[in-house]
């Protein structure tokens, strides 16, 4: 044992070792431009479109906070964020940035497109109407629906027909999942489909 301690001291006491240790020549640590850090705010106004929350794959990573002045602002919880950058790409107002995502979207003329697939399991559905009455999109279309489940137009996203929930206009869905959360029978499911597409020219 005494022998090994001596050999350690002899090793570390070498001039060459001490020199390399103190004057090592490595490249300085700089963040490359293409690196994606945690998303940060660009300063543009958040309109509470919630596309970021919809796109985020990491539960609890992003939240849109109501500010005291009445506005909204996304907040990243770094412990949960996996720095994928989807929220940056998803935001229609460019509120977030991270690395070169916004620039490459601009040059490549790409955007994220969302669509939602709503599935109703008619074996489980009781036609209670909770989903259709609670759906915030239905609410803006037909007040009679949100005040007690009477469908007065076929423009509605969801309604109850033949004793089951039916989806009339899936393209109007914003993917908020309210229906899914409020269904007592786990009969309605909303799946988010996220696609990178070429933006139409005029939107550039």
């Amino acid at each position: 044992m005494f022998g090994s301690i001596v050999s350690y001291i002899r090793e570390f006491a070498r001039r060459e070792w001490i020199h390399k240790f103190l004057f090592a020549k490595t490249a300085p640590l700089t963040t490359p431009v293409y690196s994606r850090g945690f998303p940060e705010l660009t300063g543009k106004t958040c309109t509470h479109a919630l596309f970021c929350m919809m796109a985020c794959p990491a539960p609890g990573a992003i939240e849109v906070i109501h500010l005291d002045d009445g506005g909204w602002e996304p907040r990243i919880h770094t412990g949960h964020c996996i720095r994928c950058g989807l929220c940056v790409e998803a935001c229609p107002n460019g509120v977030l940035y991270s690395g070169r995502i916004l620039e490459s979207m601009f040059y490549d003329n790409t955007m994220l497109s969302f669509s939602f697939r709503i599935d109703v399991d008619t074996n489980r559905c009781m036609g209670c109407g909770n989903c259709a009455v609670a759906c915030p999109v239905n609410k803006t279309i037909d007040a009679q629906m949100s005040h007690g489940g009477r469908a007065s137009t076929d423009e509605l996203l969801l309604k109850v027909s033949e004793g089951k929930c039916v989806v009339l206009h899936p393209e109007k869905c914003t993917g908020c999942k309210t229906c899914e959360q409020q269904c007592p029978n786990e009969a309605i499911r909303v799946a988010r489909l996220l696609e990178a597409v070429h933006a139409p020219e005029e939107e550039l």
Partner: protein
């Protein structure tokens, strides 16, 4: 042809916003109604003509003959029982009570096996209730105790309580809190903010504990009350006390479990206690679409809501003695007329056995469990589909049900009126 604002005559919600499409004498589609409504309107397994038991077989008989037989059976009986009435309209119920009076019969409705205890408690301590419209427009705390509306009253939450936007609640379910108390995790409990799982038979204790907490005497309670953490009850009591307007709904889980009408009395007294802090109401979740109507009609004619015995020539009411189940159990009644209900599916075995042994006659559109106990069945029109009439919603609001198709079936009141006229003639009144 599309007909708007059709009333669903299935459960006590009596939804009056259905849109049905009819073709000739058939309903082809139902909008806005729940699964139960859909099945009711689209069902097509009706009995075609009156049928009479002939030994082991059924034979078809004419309507007039069936009516005559019914009148004779009732006139011959010493202690006839006229049971059911929750599945028919008020006009037919009225004839029923008058008929019972002439016959010196016992007339009883389905409350006898559902919310009879609620009525008894209300007779003792009153009913701090309100209409469902008030609940929809004002209530920010909803309590379902021993009831599972998703299964039994599917649209209760979306039409009147949790989800429906109201005058003072623009963001309905975000602003309302839902508390569910039940012995198992029901579908309704899945969407509740607070779910209390109560041990079977412990409702009375739990209600008493909540009363103590609301009274400010919570410290003297044990840490665990019949399997429920005291902390949870403190939390629930706080939610109730801080409500702007609370509404409690209770079902058979409370009326028909240990304690029966004492449970309801205790619940009403809890609500009374809560009214020292805020506005709070309590209402029963009535099951049949017009069971409330049968209580109303019975009461306005005889003074009593169910189990009315006319044997003495005057109306006499003593639940436990004049209630159908007790009369049948004692083997007292010697003829029974069943209208708009299915005791064969709900009564205890002894009672069904007795019904099978006496001349039991059923007036009902469909073949059901009671058919197998009956000697004669007269099919009638379904109120709300091919007959109209008045019904009372679970909160006591009368609603005129509509006739959407034309059929050849007579309505309940037409059949009963004919029987009544024969009885009048025979009894010389």
């Amino acid at each position: 042809m599309k007909i708007e604002d059709v009333v669903c005559t299935f459960c006590g919600c009596l939804c009056d916003d259905l849109v049905v499409e009819v073709e000739g004498d058939r309903v082809v589609s139902v909008e806005n109604g729940c699964t139960l409504a859909n099945k009711k309107f689209m069902g097509n397994n009706r009995l075609k003509t009156p049928i009479k038991r002939d030994g082991g077989n059924w034979e078809k008989v004419g309507l007039d003959e069936a009516i005559q037989t019914t009148a004779e059976v009732l006139l011959d009986a010493d202690r006839p029982l006229l049971y059911g009435w929750s599945g028919t309209h008020g006009e037919a119920q009225t004839i029923g009570v008058h008929m019972a009076e002439l016959l010196g019969a016992v007339i009883d409705n389905t409350s006898t096996v559902c919310h009879g205890p609620s009525i008894m408690a209300i007779q003792e301590v009153g009913h701090p209730g309100c209409t469902l419209g008030q609940v929809k427009n004002r209530a920010d705390v909803i309590v379902y105790w021993g009831s599972n509306p998703i299964e039994a009253h599917p649209r209760h939450m979306s039409r009147y309580t949790t989800y429906a936007d109201g005058f003072f609640l623009k963001e309905a379910f975000h602003e309302r809190k839902v508390i569910v108390v039940d012995i198992r995790k029901t579908e309704t409990a899945n969407i509740a903010d607070e779910f209390i799982m109560v041990e079977p038979g412990a409702d009375y204790a739990l209600l008493s504990a909540l009363r103590a907490i609301v009274r400010g005497k919570g410290d003297m309670l044990p840490l665990n009350i019949c399997g429920v953490e005291r902390e949870q009850l403190f939390r629930v009591a706080d939610i109730c006390k801080s409500a702007k307007f609370g509404a409690m709904f209770f079902g058979l889980g409370l009326t028909m479990s240990r304690g029966k009408y004492k449970n309801i009395r205790n619940a009403i007294e809890l609500v009374e206690e809560l009214n020292r802090h805020t506005k709070f109401t309590i209402s029963p979740m009535r099951g049949h679409w017009n069971v409330y109507g049968s209580n109303e009609v019975f009461t306005w004619i005889s003074g009593y809501p169910f189990a009315v015995d006319f044997a003495r020539g005057i109306a006499f009411y003593n639940p436990g003695e004049t209630t159908s189940v007790d009369i049948l159990k004692r083997g007292e009644c010697d003829a029974c007329l069943v209208v708009g209900s299915d005791p064969g599916a709900h009564f205890p075995r002894d009672c069904c056995r007795h019904l099978a042994g006496i001349p039991t006659i059923q007036i009902d559109p469909h073949v059901n469990a009671t058919t197998h106990l009956s000697r004669l069945q007269i099919p009638v029109a379904v109120t709300g589909i091919d007959a109209e009439g008045t019904a009372y919603r679970m909160d006591g609001v009368p609603i005129r049900t509509r006739k959407v198709i034309e059929t050849t079936y007579p309505s309940d009141s037409e059949v009963l009126e004919k029987i009544y006229q024969i009885i009048r003639k025979e009894t010389g009144s």
